[in-house]
């Protein structure tokens, strides 16, 4: 059968001749190959010290955005959860009480907002679905964790630092400081 790539090699099943049975030429050949590799540049990226540049469309961990006054943008409309093909997002809505105007921009807000990062496929549909520009996919990886629970990100993990009270943190997270 014609192989698809035309790169398949038929296996040579002839008995080995004397030189081949001596192994030495093959050994020397192999050793020359490994030796030559010693002088090749290692393609390693020293990751924590240096990172490879991301493309602008990279979709990493989600963040929940705040407006410029530090209020949460999310109004718990649920469109993101509907749009999610992996059904990774759940939320519970709550009504804004008196005195919480400085916390939530809309009268309804997400009391609980969870994304299961083990389910998430980082497609970015939630970002597109959001009418309030509340959810964004950032440029960071999901860090490793010991338990499954740790991959269920709550609001605490997702919300960006408040630009008013924690400006320094925000700047650090953005890497702009």
């Amino acid at each position: 059968m014609q192989s698809l790539t035309n790169r398949a090699k038929p296996v040579d099943r002839r008995p080995m001749n004397f030189m081949e049975r001596m192994y030495l030429p093959a050994v020397l050949k192999g050793m020359s190959i490994t030796f030559s590799h010693m002088f090749k540049k290692a393609p390693t990226v020293r990751y924590p010290d240096e990172t490879r540049p991301f493309s602008p469309v990279f979709r990493g961990l989600h963040v929940l955005n705040r407006d410029e006054e530090g209020r949460e943008r999310c109004t718990a409309c649920g469109l993101c959860a509907v749009a999610c093909p992996a059904e990774a997002i759940t939320m519970e809505a709550a009504e804004r009480k008196q005195g919480e105007e400085n916390l939530y921009r809309e009268e309804k807000y997400a009391a609980k907002y969870e994304i299961n990062m083990l389910r998430c496929i980082f497609c970015g549909l939630c970002e597109e679905a959001c009418p309030k520009d509340a959810i964004y996919l950032s440029e960071t990886f999901a860090p490793s964790n010991f338990a499954r629970k740790g991959f269920i990100y709550g609001k605490k993990d997702l919300l960006i630092p408040d630009p008013k009270t924690e400006a320094a943190d925000l700047a650090k997270a953005k890497g702009t400081n």
């Binding site: 192999g30 050793m31 490994t34 590799h37 010693m38 090749k40 540049k41 290692a42 020293r46």
Partner: protein, 349 residues
């Protein structure tokens, strides 16, 4: 025996020498582990350990520290004394060989000539054989006392491998002995240094090849690392070991590698001889230092070759291993021996 003489200064000097050589061996073995990982990385287009210290230079210390602080586990069903004796034996036999290797010519310390060799016995090579033949015990005792089938199988494999390759090794060296006519390593080195004599590798290329392959097998290095074949016997004979006892085994392997490289350099590559350099014109101390450096350089080269081979060649099957040992190397060594004997005889008469 010279050891029994009452020259206390002599005793002190020997003790110092022993201490130096042992610590040097340990140091070199330690850094051999580092070097091994580095070489592996280079050959695989990687970088290797580079976190601990600059270029990862402190990695061995970290490893050692880790080994020291790991939990000491002695299995319940193990034979406790032998379980401890095993790694000790491995370490001991690994260290003992260095006693007869001449590390350099003499150095002059305040009018006192100190030979850079612990014991120049006239049965040096036999001594090496004797010690090498004990190398089996470490493996066997460790493997057996673990009371674990995999360990036992690996130990038996290891023992039979070592015994098998010892034969070819001995036979290859007998050919060398015919040329040198002496068992003393010091004499052998001096012969190679003397004028008109090439290094023994020029006379005994085949013998060196056999010796080299056997050295690989004796050190349980790839492609003959059957006793510790991870894929077949889990970890091999030291499967049940942890902490520093495991460290001893690993260390012993690297020390063995170092010593056998040194022996190869001594026997076949002129020892502390520097080619194209007349040592007698130099200050003896400087000459000795240059000699030590030369020997170490040769040794390191062989260590490198050991690693190079390890990271190139796949492991042999067990039957192939035995086949090579008994059916290829021993006949080859015999042929080499006969040819050498004929040549020696012809040249004599």
């Amino acid at each position: 025996m010279t050891l029994l003489a009452f020259d206390w200064l002599y005793l002190v000097e020997k003790l110092v020498l022993i201490a130096v050589i042992i610590s040097a061996s340990l140091l070199i073995a330690m850094y051999a582990t580092y070097f091994e990982r580095k070489v592996a990385a280079w050959m695989q287009d990687r970088i290797g350990p580079d976190r601990a210290g600059p270029f990862g230079i402190l990695q061995p210390l970290a490893d050692g520290g880790k080994l020291f602080f790991k939990e000491e586990i002695i299995p319940n069903a193990a034979n406790k004394w032998l379980f401890i004796l095993g790694p000790c034996m491995a370490m001991l036999t690994a260290m003992m060989t260095s006693a007869v290797i001449p590390w350099g010519s003499k150095i002059d310390l305040g009018g006192r000539e100190i030979a850079l060799q612990i014991a120049d016995v006239n049965i040096g090579m036999l001594y090496i054989f004797g010690v090498v033949s004990f190398g089996v015990y470490g493996i066997m005792i460790g493997g057996w006392s673990s009371n674990n089938k995999f360990s036992l199988m690996a130990a038996l494999r290891g023992a039979s491998q070592v015994i098998s390759y010892e034969l070819a090794m001995g036979l290859s060296l007998i050919a060398l002995l015919m040329l040198t006519g002496s068992l003393s390593l010091k004499t052998i080195v001096e012969q190679q240094m003397s004028h008109g004599n090439l290094w023994n590798i020029a006379y005994q290329p085949l013998g060196f090849f056999i010796f080299f392959v056997c050295a690989l097998a004796e050190c349980n290095r790839a492609p003959f690392d059957l006793p510790e074949a991870e894929s077949e016997l889990n970890m091999g004979y030291h499967q049940e070991y942890s902490s520093m006892k495991l460290g001893f085994y690993l260390f012993a392997e690297y020390i063995n590698m170092f010593i056998s490289s040194a022996i190869m350099a001594t026997l076949f590559f002129g020892g502390y001889d520097v080619p194209f350099l007349d040592e007698s014109t130099l200050n003896p101390n400087i000459a000795a230092l240059i000699g030590i450096a030369a020997l170490l350089a040769k040794t390191f080269f062989f260590i490198f070759v050991f690693m190079w081979i390890r990271w190139t060649l796949p492991r042999f099957r067990y039957d192939q291993l035995m086949d090579i040992g008994w059916k290829k190397l021993i006949p080859l060594a015999l042929v080499n021996m006969v040819i050498t004997a004929v040549v020696v005889l012809l040249r004599q008469g």
